[in-house]
């Protein structure tokens, strides 16, 4: 079973939920936790330990100067500006390339071939006996987050229980994370911004075709608007985490409430039961 944790709005507590859920589940079963927020991975802060790095490469064009006639077809085709065809040379801007392969197809001379280029890495570690952490890390200045997310997900394949921690927003990286997931947990907070972005994220999950449920984090007890939205959209509220100084203190020192505060391990195993029920599949 693959569970994606997303939110729309940043800072609602995706990683908090993912890390605590992973810790609680890893007490009794094998869990793989995948950090798909490759532009700012942070789960390793909760689970420090030595990691093995696997580089992530994407194909980028290389021009054979012996064959190129500077006809300009590749430069016209590339909508990302990764190829500039000038009078006597072709400039390649690899960091602008989205690896679509179109330049290879349109070149009438067969002068374009693809060569691998490293855009990031996947760090694998085993911080607990039954927990594997796989963190995608996109190199600074790179644009191909989905390639790193894909690589991280591939390395997590073959395990019975996988948690994907998505990046904020609803753009390509989030869609890449959601694809192939069985169920989605949307973490929100009781603020107008939290609700606004929950609407967007719920729509994405619906379009990707994944059943979703909601966790309300930092609840001040005034969740009527969020509850009404969830009821209207048929989204079950799986868990509510209160706004509490005690929880914030654990979180701020890099701790886990499921481990460090009494009662929360059970709360997170209950959350898992709710997720499974919502997914309608056997875990």
């Amino acid at each position: 079973m693959k569970i994606a944790i997303a939110s729309g709005k940043g800072g609602t507590g995706k990683s908090t939920v993912a890390a605590n859920l992973a810790w609680a589940l890893a007490r009794s079963r094998d869990v793989v936790l995948v950090d798909c927020d490759v532009e700012e991975p942070n789960l390793h802060l909760f689970f420090p330990g030595p990691a093995v790095d696997v580089p992530v490469t994407t194909p980028v064009p290389e021009i054979d100067p012996a064959r190129c006639t500077f006809c300009g077809e590749c430069g016209k085709f590339c909508r990302f500006g990764a190829l500039a065809v000038l009078k006597d040379r072709v400039l390649v801007f690899p960091h602008l390339c989205h690896s679509c392969g179109g330049c290879v197809l349109v070149c009438p001379q067969g002068a374009v071939r693809e060569v691998p280029r490293t855009v990031g890495r996947v760090a694998c570690s085993r911080p607990l006996p039954r927990l594997t952490l796989i963190s995608g890390v996109l190199n600074e200045g790179e644009v191909q987050a989905p390639a790193v997310i894909r690589a991280a997900k591939v390395l997590a394949e073959g395990h019975p229980l996988t948690l994907y921690d998505a990046s904020p927003g609803i753009a390509c990286p989030v869609i890449e994370t959601l694809e192939g997931s069985d169920v989605c947990v949307l973490v929100t907070e009781s603020t107008p911004f939290g609700l606004h972005d929950l609407r967007l994220a719920a729509e994405v999950a619906e379009r990707v075709g994944i059943p979703a449920g909601v966790v309300i984090n930092r609840s001040d007890g005034e969740d009527a608007a969020t509850v009404a939205f969830c009821r209207e959209r048929g989204l079950p509220i799986l868990m509510t985490i209160p706004f509490s100084r005690e929880i914030a203190a654990v979180q701020n020192r890099g701790g886990l409430i499921s481990r460090d505060l009494p009662g929360w391990e059970e709360q997170f195993t209950d959350l898992f039961d709710e997720i499974v029920r919502n997914a309608g599949v056997r875990a």
């Binding site: 016209k76 990764a82 500039a84 801007f93």
Partner: protein, 111 residues
Amino acid sequence: MIVCITARAAGTDAPVEQRFGRAPYFVFVDTETEKSESVGNPLVDAAGGVGPRAVQALAEHGATILVTGQVGGNAARALEAGGIKAYAYRGSGSVADALAEYTAGTLQPIS
């Protein structure tokens, strides 16, 4: 010699546009015949990578001089490779005004 000036509209009376890759128009002026040609820039709303693609458009029109407000890093690399020299016009005048300043030699090169 063909000079390209970035502009907000077509024609030499149009105001100069400070941005290069997202300039609405490129006005190409042949300094020998004094004829001008205005070309709409399809990259105005493009997502990214507009610099190198705009340089390609300049190269296709045979421009060897660019007069604009400023250029980004990718565009600068492509301009240099393409042998197109860029000059900064930071005023609020027209294409004709910028061309006059270029001809008078008062514009600073963009390095």
